[in-house]
């Protein structure tokens, strides 16, 4: 295979749209944190974006095929790290998600595992020999995703564990999932619901209940939902004249989970729809890259990224407008947070990786 790659093949339009979204995020973060104790967060976000951008370049340099060839090791490494968390992990905020590194830094494996999963799943499906998924293959695919997911669930980290699901779903769907198998999945999901409800922690149950009826607990778990709705609604078509909800501290965590609410209050329907449009363009562009990928693996890789990105947007914006319960899932590229930004750019690096090699055979 020719190894000639050119940065002309970098998906510059995609990069530009991504950076526009990041810029909007930075501006909104600045506005929302201006007079609070989080002031200056927007500067840190800029650093993360730059850092992520560099990382994206780096990732795109190594041929993804080579990465995929090593994916077995990476997968084992990720399982090991998750196990290390389970055994040696530090408890923080009630969950064991971190390992303390010798340097004093904290290392949260579950985010990395997500990336590796995309790679692993892509490799697995690209190696399949049938057009339609056989039962053994189906189960194996489930295990590849299921095992780390259960380990993360045990931390417990429901939110992150749930983000593994779209990877599996997308891959299964594209990999030739048969209707019967889909029904099995749905059946399983339905059966485990009551068990899952039992296992939910009280605050998680509260969140679900508040989702159904935000009015029931105005001051507690319903509070965030109601405040988000008020903020978004009072944005009207063009944006609220005084973004009181964000600036008078009514909207909780406006720089992270509810950044879209803050943006919607400030810029109204027009602005919010615009951002949605930008995300849509990004997703469509990504899908196009998937379609022009040189092989199945490349397609699976890009679509894995599409799956994760779509899921985040669906859950976060859905929460903001009241269609989904409150979760801790950030809005990619806009929410303040280093690990989220980094993940996105690494994932985009993989996409660039695939795209840049689309003429290679």
């Amino acid at each position: 295979m020719a190894r000639y790659v050119s940065f002309r093949d970098f998906d510059w339009p995609l990069v530009i749209f991504v950076l526009i979204i990041c810029a909007l995020g930075v501006v909104e973060i600045r506005s929302a944190t201006e007079h609070t104790k989080f002031a200056g967060a927007h500067l840190r976000q800029i650093y993360w974006v730059i850092f992520g951008f560099a990382a994206m370049f780096l990732v795109s340099l190594v041929n993804y095929q080579a990465l995929l060839d090593q994916v077995h090791w990476m997968y084992i490494a990720s399982i090991t790290s998750l196990m290390a968390v389970m055994l040696f992990g530090q408890k923080y905020l009630g969950a064991r998600r971190w390992i303390k590194l010798p340097g004093g830094q904290h290392f949260q494996p579950s985010e990395w595992v997500k990336l590796i999963l995309i790679l692993a799943v892509a490799k697995y499906f690209s190696d399949l020999h049938e057009k339609e998924l056989t039962w053994p293959d189906f189960i194996k695919a489930g295990a590849i995703v299921g095992v780390p997911m259960l380990m993360v669930l045990a931390q417990p980290d429901l939110g992150t564990a749930l983000t593994y699901i779209p990877i599996a779903v997308m891959a299964l769907f594209l990999g030739g999932l048969r209707v019967k198998q889909a029904l099995v999945v749905l059946l399983l999901a339905g059966l485990t619901m009551p068990l899952a409800w039992h296992k939910l922690k009280p605050y998680q149950k509260d969140r679900l209940v508040s989702f159904m009826q935000p009015e029931a607990d105005k001051q507690g778990s319903g509070y965030q939902v109601i405040q988000s709705l008020i903020a978004v609604g009072s944005g009207g078509v063009w944006g609220a004249k005084e973004t009181s909800q964000t600036h008078l501290n009514f909207l909780p965590v406006p720089q992270t989970d509810f950044i879209f609410s803050a943006f919607a209050e400030a810029h109204g329907f027009v602005g919010a729809l615009g951002v949605l449009l930008l995300y849509f363009i990004v997703l469509m562009r990504l899908t196009q890259n998937a379609q022009t990928a040189p092989d199945r693996a490349g397609t699976f890789l890009v679509m894995g990224v599409v799956a994760v990105l779509s899921f985040h947007i669906l859950v976060n914006v859905g929460m903001v407008v009241g269609f989904m319960p409150v979760t801790g899932i950030p809005l990619p590229l806009m929410s303040y947070g280093g690990s989220s930004v980094l993940f996105m750019f690494l994932a985009l690096g993989i996409v660039m990786n695939v795209r840049m090699r689309r003429f290679v055979n």
Binding site: G233, L248, A264, T299, V306, V321, G322
Partner: protein, 658 residues
């Protein structure tokens, strides 16, 4: 052969694209719903979030006496509170705060911990009614302790030691039960309203109307801007007919005893003094009464919360003989009635004793006058038998017994005046003639309140005019404020002039050596009255039970007037367990004396006294030199009456102000 090089199904890829599109359309719809369709609704909610109506509390009206002296005032009370929306470590500061506010650091920490789960924008109240030095501490530590703040409220300041407590009443937060009643339906929870006495009766006048301030607030509740303001309408002050000088005299007369004194001007019905004992301190209610203190008050068998002047209905004893005399004379029987008191007499097969037996003597021949001033039971047994219960009831009812006087205070009781009809209605039994005999000397089923007796006796002494007692003057109230009473302001009863003279002259003799209360005699004062000792249970029962336990001691009564005819003042004294009427007479005499002496000192009549001496008054403790060093005392202004006082110091204000 299917392999790596096979492309992913294009259909499926396109399907994914459409699914993503669908998701975005749903999200866009969500936005549309909130921002276009329901935008106004949410804008309103955002307004409600950020705009708060803060009430501006209206100060309650002061209560003054008839000369404008302040009895009840308000004082600014500061409460200390802890703000919790900053990053300060409250536990670390607790020691310093506790020291400055004279609190126990551990209690303070416990309190902070107790409220830790509440929303951060709610401050914690840590101390009510802080003293000036504590206030100074907070002010001087604004930099070091920014989480410490104060809030001011007006609190009611009542005279100390329960002075006039029953007449004035007390205030408290309106209760849920009250809010359900129609007359309170426009009040809000948290409103401070009168709960008893004048505070309750004239609450609407005293209360004023709270204003409000619309302020812009953050989620923490901190005000960041002011939008509009409606000022508060302060409550109006209330002028009572009571004279603080006489009130002091009455309170002193009742010192250490249980019972009541009420003094009234029969020419107008104005109440000049009203005391009930035991008393309570309404200042305890003004902040917030502790449950245990309340329980103590409520279960005390001496009933400190009861205003006995209008709420104690007891057998009047021999005071009732004046009413009997009126009935007897007007019915033409008593003039010619002469009995021989040998210590008792038999009626209907029962022997009724005369009290004189206890002094080992007898009355001998008794006519109506001697019957009054010597309080001969036999005379009145006989008179009662001749009159019959229904005629007695008729005259007693004319004189206001068994009915409310209509005084403008809440919860006055009616007392009891028995009659045949009454017995049938209430007990489904016939009235036995024998029961009339006890009624003749004010025992049996008769029960009166001090105010009733005062009005009745004064009415007789006035020649047959009964006036409705009141504690405020209608002229001092705004139009329409006087609560409507079902009692006419004036009631006339027929009283022939000779009968009038007979009764009043006999009453004057009561406080002479030939009467039953010579020790109450007042030199150079035309003082007349009637004593009474009312048994609470029969002698026989007493002997069987109590062994002289105080509960069964007799009550002592006295009603006195000055002068004897067309009196300017009537005083009724009830001494519970006071055994004898003459002790009650002495107490009443004290009040009469104070009245007369004050009158003689002033050239104008009390009722016309126009000099009003009003200055803001805040109490100082009597042992301070008036400067106050601020610790534990509140400073205030002083005022004095412009009167040359010599022997008896006239009050300058209610007790507590020098």
């Amino acid at each position: 052969m299917f392999g790596r090089e096979e492309k992913v199904s294009a259909i499926r890829l396109t399907a994914v694209q459409y699914i993503i599109l669908a998701i975005f359309l749903i999200l866009a719809y969500g936005l549309w719903r909130l921002q276009v369709m329901q935008s106004d609704f949410y804008s309103n909610l955002s307004e409600k979030n950020r705009v708060r109506d803060v009430p501006i509390l209206a100060p309650r009206g002061k209560i003054l006496d008839r000369e404008g002296r302040i009895i009840v005032d308000n004082y600014p009370s500061f409460s200390a509170l802890l703000l919790r929306d900053s990053n300060r470590d409250l536990y670390a500061d607790a020691d310093l705060i506790a020291q400055g506010l004279h609190m126990d650091p551990k209690e303070l920490r416990d309190r902070i911990r107790h409220f830790a789960s509440m929303p951060q924008y709610q401050p914690i109240f840590i101390k009510d009614d802080i003293t000036p030095d504590e206030l100074a501490f907070i002010e001087s530590h604004r930099n070091e302790l920014p989480e410490l703040d104060t809030i001011m409220a007006h609190r009611r300041l009542y005279p100390r030691n329960g002075f006039m407590a029953h007449l004035i009443g007390y205030v408290g937060e309106v209760s849920e039960d009250m809010l359900n009643q129609p007359q309170w339906e426009f009040y809000n929870p948290g409103d401070v309203v009168g709960k008893s006495g004048v505070e309750l009766q004239y609450n609407q006048l005293l209360m004023g109307k709270n204003g409000s301030r619309r302020a812009l607030v953050t989620a923490r509740g901190r005000e960041v801007g002011r939008l509009s303001e409606t000022p508060a309408v302060p409550g109006r002050q209330l002028k009572l007919t009571v004279d603080v000088d006489l009130q002091i005299a009455a309170e002193q007369a009742l010192e250490g005893k249980n019972g009541a004194i009420v003094a009234m001007d029969p020419r107008t019905g104005e109440i000049l003094a009203m005391v009930s004992r035991p008393t309570f301190d309404p200042n305890n209610f003004a902040v917030r009464i502790k449950a245990e203190d309340w329980n103590k008050l409520v279960t005390d068998e001496n009933h400190p919360l009861l205003n006995k002047a209008i709420q104690a209905q007891l057998a009047p004893g021999s005071v009732f003989k004046i009413i009997m005399a009126t009935a007897g004379l007007q019915e033409g029987i008593a003039q010619n009635l002469h009995v021989n008191c040998g210590g008792g007499a038999s009626f209907y097969g029962r022997y009724f004793k005369c009290w004189v037996v206890a002094e080992h003597r007898v009355h001998g021949p008794v006519d109506i006058s001697k019957g009054i001033y010597q309080s001969c039971d036999v005379f009145f047994y006989t008179l009662a038998e001749k009159l019959g219960i229904d005629r007695i009831a008729k005259w007693a009812t004319l004189l206001g017994l068994g009915q409310r006087t209509g005084i403008d205070l809440p919860q006055e009781v009616t007392g009891v005046m028995p009659s045949e009809e009454w017995k049938i209605r209430n007990f489904k039994q016939k009235w036995y003639a024998g029961e009339t005999i006890s009624v003749g000397i004010g025992q049996g089923a008769v029960a009166t309140t001090p105010i009733q007796l005062a009005r009745a006796i004064a009415g007789i002494a006035s020649g047959g005019i009964l006036r409705r007692p009141h504690v405020t003057n209608p002229t001092d109230l705004p139009v329409g404020m006087m609560p409507a009473a079902n009692v006419p302001n004036e009631m006339k009863i027929p009283l022939d002039p000779e009968n009038w003279q007979t009764i009043t002259d006999a009453m004057a003799n009561v406080v002479n050596p030939i009467g039953t209360a010579p020790s109450a005699h007042l030199k150079d004062i035309d003082f007349a009255g009637k004593t009474g000792s009312a048994q609470t249970i029969s002698n026989a029962a007493k002997a069987r039970l109590a062994n002289g336990k105080s509960k069964f001691k007799d009550n002592g009564w006295f009603v006195g007037v000055e002068p004897r005819r067309n009196p300017e003042i009537v005083v009724c004294t009830l001494l519970e367990e006071g055994e004898h009427g003459y002790l009650a007479a002495r107490a009443a005499a004290q009040v009469i004396k104070a009245y007369v002496e004050k009158q003689r000192r002033q050239p104008t009549k009390m009722a016309d006294h126009k000099k009003s001496v009003e200055v803001g008054a805040v109490w100082t403790t009597p042992d301070s030199d008036g400067e106050g060093d601020g610790s534990g005392r509140l400073q205030g202004g002083r005022f004095t009456l412009d009167v040359t006082s010599k022997h008896v110091p006239l009050a300058t204000a209610a007790p507590g102000v020098n």
